[in-house]
Symmetry: C2
Subunit: 505 residues, 2 copies
């Protein structure tokens, strides 16, 4: 197998991560969990210093960044909890069965084991929660996989400071040397991703870069899984009755969701389908939700957003509802105020190519749908996979008792086919870090829709199943032993049950 | 997105499968399960007729094929059982939590939903169990995904007959039209795999073809998961003490495993590492295990096996222990008797390229390892991923009380890193169809190591997670409802628990 030739620095990183893999995989879950909690504690202890760097490097606000540090620490603690609880191991034990329906069955036991070294490409827009110690890193470390983080170029100083905290805390908690590394530079990331010792990759960023990396992972001599969270336009559907019931509340929620973090969120609602004539626009215009100017992450993103905004405003039939705009300061940084535009469904269709792609910044498009529009058919018509899809219903509609129930159910079913999370009467920004969360979706929302990048199920991305047949206790992974010293959930298939398979249905 | 232009016949197939997806996804689990049991019953009812065709088309023996039909029917019944039990849905419910540590948490519920239409490429060597109604097909249908089977060219008549049985049984059981299709021809399979309406692929076969198809799936405009089970050489390690204790029993087991189905099994043990001087060869030579001549699947496979056998016998240092051989009859069919060869570890290393690749047929290689060989280092040195790895230990070694325990544990750990199933004192052929089974392994054993193609976990390949946030009951998937009418397992996260995250570890 052709080896990638790495620079001496990268070779040292990959060699150390690879050498550390067996020892890290063998750490006791409770020990690994304590180390992860120690990392969370150290992160929070350094909050003022880190937030100061982050404000300077990203232009995000202090309250947002303070909240993000807390979120990142909570996320680490949740993964610590997850590995101690042990359900994520999916431990299965089939006892030997002399009466098995296909002839004597051996004792077969199966659990999930860590993949080995993983590279995680950080995001620009969450310098904590999707960066050096973000959700991907937390789940990689929790899984017991050595981690190489490729720092995002937008916050290098913060990345270094965070990595230093993580390395120190992991070492002091007694974790093996070599399980945590930070590297800089896209080419370095690509080289590491190509290395045969790397067993998976994760990424949060644009469709273009994500596709590039996913293709590299898939086309290696030995392909590896690549979990990229890419682009999303997060459509929202608001019914006429919901507007009649609470137009002002919905308008205010929309403006808050679109303007928060200057719209630089993967779950920002990008398209709002509203019934023609329901006059939702008026509610947006009269809303008193504060829409302060907010710095965009970096000059490149600001320039790109400004161009997208111009193109959208210039498309046939597009009207500005809230004008907003981008101002560039003397350092070249862009400062944005939110832009809300409206367009008829016909004009949206006519200007499809100019409008449909994600505008990464504070802008959303109201699409006015004529009465009788088949809402369930809209998403498949205009976009592929998305992270989220949202419906706003009236109280009566939510109860399922209205005449349009079938139509609404069809819309929800259509969304469920194309998104990872379907929301009701809420906003997609603000992704709860919680066991049932799903942050993913069909291409191009992610490069791998079988998984989530937020929530405890995220850990499964970095594990692989292994079965042990007739293994003596001394050779079994602890989670599969009869005495179950870790107290993890074990799904037991007793002898004899196969006789009834198929007769119970 | 550029659409693949399909022939009218293939277009009709893909359009029908795509149109059937919502209705099939919406079938009640118990209804789908009854339909799958009906398919199993119909398959078994047709056993004599189908086995007659299979014998003619594949050269496999009647007892083997009878057993395979039973196995295939049991597999279908097991999946019926699985979908009624509902644990595979991984239903998670996080109740709304006003006291959530990051601020009020919405109600979030997550379950797995069917991917949509899937294409399954059948295998040559299991005309029932990995073909039209095999494990992949069973898990695709159980998941609620419309299925397009690409028939293997080695048993077209059997494929047609089996498909007819499946179509009739599914229709009579009230399943939606369009959920089951059979197509013939590799180019047709490739065209379907490229179609944007197809959401996943599965495959059992060679590394070359599997890689070709995996690359197609990964490089589509919208990439899809592709679950290929490819090649494997299934190494076996036998200790000196195991040989001293029961050489004849082990030799007999080996010969049975290598010769069964003429060695045309993906789990056939291909390399047997034995200690130099332990004289395991003598036990093989004196074994009275019957080694009858067996027809190979088709002339192409026979020719290819014969060439591989010649190349192996011609490699430097290789000695025939049991000569065996291939004879071609007047129809061009090849008939094989098992071949066992031996080689020293040094010669094995020297002839690595000639020896290391899978020989698909009844042949295995004994590799004699000098005392002091680091067994744990052998696998990483000579091969990548495998489906299985096996160790034969003495009774004392199995108890973990011998001096070489550390060495043996290191060997087992090394195998667990590179294979999907680690066996003790048994043989890898004969893969039990059972909940804890794992039939997979790192590349090139499979193209996607996160999953299994045998056992109930196989169903997960054809599902994707979707979360529902603050969904009114009328809009929730049934598995996520509070009243839980299906009685499926639901993992509940109550309000308030986040306050303790990280403090319990």
């Amino acid at each position: 197998m052709p080896e990638t030739k790495l620079s001496p620095e990268l070779e040292a990183v990959v060699a150390a991560a690879s050498a550390a893999a067996p020892a890290f995989a063998a750490t006791e879950p409770a020990h690994r969990a304590r180390a992860i909690v120690a990392v969370a504690d150290a992160l929070e202890a350094a909050k003022p210093r880190l937030v100061e760097i982050a404000m300077r490097e990203t232009g995000l606000t202090e309250p947002r960044l303070n909240g993000e540090v807390t979120r990142t620490a909570v996320q680490l603690r949740l993964f610590a909890e997850t590995i101690v609880a042990g359900g994520y191991l999916d431990a299965r034990i089939d006892y030997a069965d002399p009466a098995f329906v296909l002839g004597p069955r051996p004792d077969v036991r199966r659990t999930l084991l860590p993949l080995g070294p993983v590279i995680n490409f950080s995001a620009s827009n969450f310098p904590f929660a999707f960066s050096v110690l973000g959700g991907d890193s937390a789940s990689i470390l929790a899984a017991g996989c050595p981690l190489i983080v490729k720092a995002h170029s937008g916050h290098p100083e913060l990345s270094n400071a965070t990595a230093e905290i993580a390395s120190t805390a992991l070492r002091e908690a007694g974790m093996p040397e070599g399980i945590f590394h930070l590297i800089h530079g896209r080419e370095a990331g690509v080289q590491v991703l190509k290395d045969p010792r790397i067993k998976a990759g994760s990424f949060t960023g644009s469709i273009n870069v994500g596709r590039l990396l996913a293709d590299i992972a898939a086309n290696r001599p030995a392909p590896i899984p690549f979990f990229g969270e890419l682009g999303s336009v997060n459509p929202v559907f608001i019914t006429a009755d919901a507007i009649a019931e609470r137009a002002d509340e919905i308008a205010s929620g929309l403006l808050t969701s679109v303007s928060g973090s200057a719209g630089q969120l993967c779950t920002k609602p990008g398209f709002i389908f509203v019934p023609e004539g329901a006059d939702f626009e008026a509610a947006v215009v009269r809303s008193e939700t504060p829409l302060p100017e907010h710095r965009l992450l970096d000059p490149r993103i600001a320039q790109s957003f400004n161009e997208r905004r111009d193109a959208i405003l210039g498309a046939a039939g597009v009207r500005a509802v809230v004008a907003g705009g981008v101002r560039f300061d003397e350092q070249g940084q862009g400062w944005a105020k939110p832009t809300i535009v409206a367009v008829s469904l016909d004009d949206f269709r006519a200007s499809h190519d100019a409008l449909v792609h994600e505008a990464f910044g504070p802008l959303t498009i109201l699409v006015e749908t004529p009465a009788g529009t088949d809402l369930a058919a809209l998403m498949p018509e205009f976009y592929e996979g998305n992270l989220t899809g949202t419906v706003h219903l009236s109280e009566a509609e939510a109860s399922g008792s209205t005449e349009n129930f079938g139509e609404l159910r069809a819309l929800v079913a259509a969304l469920a086919k194309q998104v990872g999370r379907v929301l009701f009467n809420g906003w997609s920004t603000g992704v709860a870090v919680t066991p049932a969360q799903q942050h993913g979706g069909p291409w191009p929302a992610t490069s791998n829709d079988s998984s989530t990048s937020v929530g405890t199920a995220a850990i499964t991305r970095f594990l692989r199943p292994v079965a042990f047949q007739n293994a003596p206790a001394a050779f079994l992974p602890v989670a599969l032993r009869d005495d179950n010293p870790l107290g993890v959930p074990q799904a037991i298939s007793p002898a004899g049950e196969s006789q009834n398979w198929g007769s119970l249905v």
